[in-house]
């Protein structure tokens, strides 16, 4: 109990409050800019947190992520340009409201729904993470190895249409994660005689390159000379009923919000699904259960509430696998995992024993971030809307240069900037060729832990290859891993037959390209 109170008091310290506030405000601002999302913002700002205490840093990044999730709705509602996939469902009803001059009302509904979903999800995280972590402590290295194998397989399907390419990306990520010092012999491995590789590839330059720099390379293709041309004009009506969401309007959607939150919690707690799935699933359910199905897509507040409550609920619930098992379920959490490691913590069930006070401080920061999101959104909404009109000519050079300096900041090394550029280049091709950079990054982050677990299994079992058969949970998880691979291959083959074009015609060069 003392730990809980001390942790919560830590989260109420002026520095912590200030950085959570800055994080949320920055997150909303960044999320509102089309093309910049939460994980990218976290990657860019992790170097800044080197100079903060662990609690302040995590609070800041959590606030950034929460803010960016809501911020994504701003461009979706005002421009029908969702900055992130999960905001797409919000635009279906948000943009029609903007066309009716009710953009502010749509954004306020998105804000209240986001806060509601986020708050419920945070409470669930607080209530169940610690008890589940206590159970997870009974897992040995064999179970951890099997669990990471399963997670890598599930995650291989994210961000690509092909699990085969996802697995290749995960394999490449694992390989990159193994560069550096080998854990058993403590000798350099895969360093190719480059001494800077001796301590391994740092997460920050790799993440900034893959997430931010490669994204900017792509955005510049699309937006050069165009961003800023599309203004959110005639957005806000001056009538009060067109600007504000009444209590009646909000509470008439309570069921939808609750359902959306529960869907978001369920989806977020499962590694690999992510916020877009929650958002679309919740929207679909809201439409099916509504008495006014025909009004969906024409500017219905219920549609916005369903989408936003679900995708915001994913933010906190996706931390459940991180806190309980030490496995990131999506990209934003993978970035947070990196931040935990940078600040000397190994995410997983042991965190509740080794860093109990800090964990409760983080819980406090999560709740505070939700409150700040409501306050900042309530009073600053109109100002954040201006972010969607920042011209590309000004915005993108700033982001490119921030990527470069962010990569430099970690070790004050231009070598890391080179690494960042290399991974930006690789990331550009990965995206263009449909290889999952999410699978790569999660493979990169989990590789050392995966190898450590394997080494422990081999050493404990004294090279007994039947070790896994003696551990039913590990065996079950490995069986599940093979089942997931087989099922996905089968589904891909079956799905491929539905929509067919002649490969011979394609190979003959029917479509002229580069």
């Amino acid at each position: 109990m003392e730990m809980i109170i001390a942790g919560l008091l830590d989260s109420l310290s002026p520095a912590s409050l200030m950085f959570v506030f800055i994080g949320v405000a920055l997150g909303v601002l960044i999320g509102a800019i089309p093309g910049i999302n939460g994980p990218m913002a976290i990657a860019l700002f992790i170097p800044v947190t080197y100079y903060m205490s662990a609690l302040t840093a995590i609070g800041f990044l959590v606030g950034l992520n929460k803010g960016a999730f809501f911020g994504g709705a701003v461009s979706a509602v005002l421009l029908r340009t969702p900055g992130t996939p999960e905001a797409a469902a919000t635009s279906w009803d948000g943009y029609p409201l903007t066309q009716q001059g009710k953009g502010e009302k749509a954004l306020r509904m998105a804000l209240y729904s986001s806060v509601a979903g986020d708050f419920v999800s945070t409470l669930v995280l607080i209530l169940i993470a610690a008890p589940l972590a206590a159970v997870a402590l009974f897992m040995g290295p064999a179970e951890i190895f099997a669990l990471i194998s399963l997670a890598l397989t599930v995650i291989a399907g994210i961000g690509t249409n092909s699990i085969g390419r996802g697995l290749m990306a995960a394999g490449f990520g694992i390989l990159a994660g193994l560069v550096g010092t080998e854990p058993v012999t403590a000798l350099p491995r895969l360093t190719f005689d480059i001494y800077q590789f001796g301590s391994g590839l740092s997460l920050i330059p790799v993440a900034i390159g893959l997430l931010a720099f490669s994204e900017i390379l792509l955005q510049l293709e699309k937006f050069t000379g165009k961003v800023g041309a599309e203004h959110a004009a005639n957005t806000f009506s001056k009538k009060l009923e067109d600007r504000l969401v009444s209590f009646k309007e909000f509470f008439s959607n309570t069921k939808t919000l609750l359902r959306g939150s529960l869907i978001g919690i369920g989806v977020g707690a499962m590694p690999g699904l992510g916020a877009p799935v929650a958002s679309f699933m919740s929207y679909d359910q809201a439409m099916k259960r509504s008495k006014n199905k025909d009004e969906f897509g024409k500017g219905r507040l219920e549609g916005i509430g369903a989408s936003e409550s679900a995708n915001s609920a994913v933010v906190a619930s996706s931390m459940i696998p991180l806190f309980v098992l030490g496995i990131p379920g999506n990209l934003a959490v993978a970035m947070l995992m990196g931040a935990f490691m940078i600040h000397g913590m190994q995410p997983g069930p042991l965190m509740f024993q080794e860093n109990a006070q800090l964990m409760y401080g983080i819980y406090g920061s999560l709740v505070i971030a939700s409150i700040f999101l409501l306050v900042i959104g309530q009073f600053g909404l109109r100002y954040f809307c201006k972010a969607v009109n920042i011209p590309a000519m000004i915005l993108y050079p700033i982001v490119v240069f921030t990527c470069i300096m962010g990569a430099y900041l970690g070790k004050s090394s231009m070598f890391d900037v080179g690494v960042m550029l290399a991974f930006g280049f690789i990331g550009y091709f990965m995206r263009k060729f449909d290889y999952s950079y999410v699978a790569f990054l999660i493979g990169f982050i989990l590789a050392p832990e995966w190898e450590r677990a394997l080494q422990q299994v081999v050493i404990i079992s004294e090279h007994d290859t039947y070790m896994f058969f003696q551990r039913p949970v590990a065996m079950g998880l490995m069986a599940l891993t093979f089942f997931v691979i087989a099922r996905t291959f089968w589904k891909n083959t079956k799905g491929g037959k539905k929509q067919q074009v002649e490969v011979a015609a394609s190979a003959a060069g029917e479509h002229k390209g580069d």
Binding site: Y50, V184, P188, R189, G495, Q499
Partner: protein, 171 residues
């Protein structure tokens, strides 16, 4: 070049890289097995093995489809911009090499030049070039953005974080 052809080339490159790593990279740059625990080469071999296996499987699948004149889903065989329906959120598309070079070349030059020339000069020139590359032709705007950004980051790094900016220190 069609997407199928491009993918085939990519799989061949991945397979080639994997074979190179398995036969030269991993054996040469991995310490010897100390006699206890798993071999230090085991996990790298498994990771590269997965890449090689999946690449070979994909090559085989495409070759079989071509030989049997079978069909492959439009999602896999066409570029999204060629498809009639919306491409959704996928960023799959044709590589625009000139665009890529216009950003990457100045960035690489910045990394090299900053070690020899002071941060302030190199950053200013880099930002000017970058803005020109992305289509900005407003001279005053370019200068203002370049000067402001260079100065802000200098102040933040030097006085905010206490980190020296890269390259020779002028002041």
């Amino acid at each position: 070049m069609t997407r199928i052809k491009r993918d085939l080339i990519a799989y061949l490159v991945i397979a080639g890289f994997s074979i190179l790593m398995l036969t030269w990279g991993i054996p040469t740059y991995t310490p010897a097995h100390p006699g206890y625990g798993a071999s230090p080469a085991l996990v790298p071999n498994v990771a590269v093995g997965i890449m090689l296996f999946m690449a070979c499987l994909s090559i085989l699948r495409i070759c079989m489809a071509i030989l049997r004149n079978e069909s492959i889903s439009a999602e896999e065989s066409e570029f999204p911009e060629d498809m009639k329906e919306e491409a959704g959120f996928t960023q799959v598309g044709r590589v625009k090499l000139f665009h890529l070079a216009s950003i990457m070349v100045p960035s690489v030059l910045l990394v090299v030049a900053i070690e020899y020339v002071a941060y302030i000069f190199v950053s200013f020139i880099f930002l000017m070039v970058l803005q020109y590359a992305i289509g900005c032709r407003k001279c005053l705007q370019s200068v203002v953005v370049s000067v402001a950004l260079t100065a802000v980051l200098y102040i933040v790094m030097r006085y905010g974080f206490g980190v020296p900016v890269p390259g020779p220190q002028l002041f």
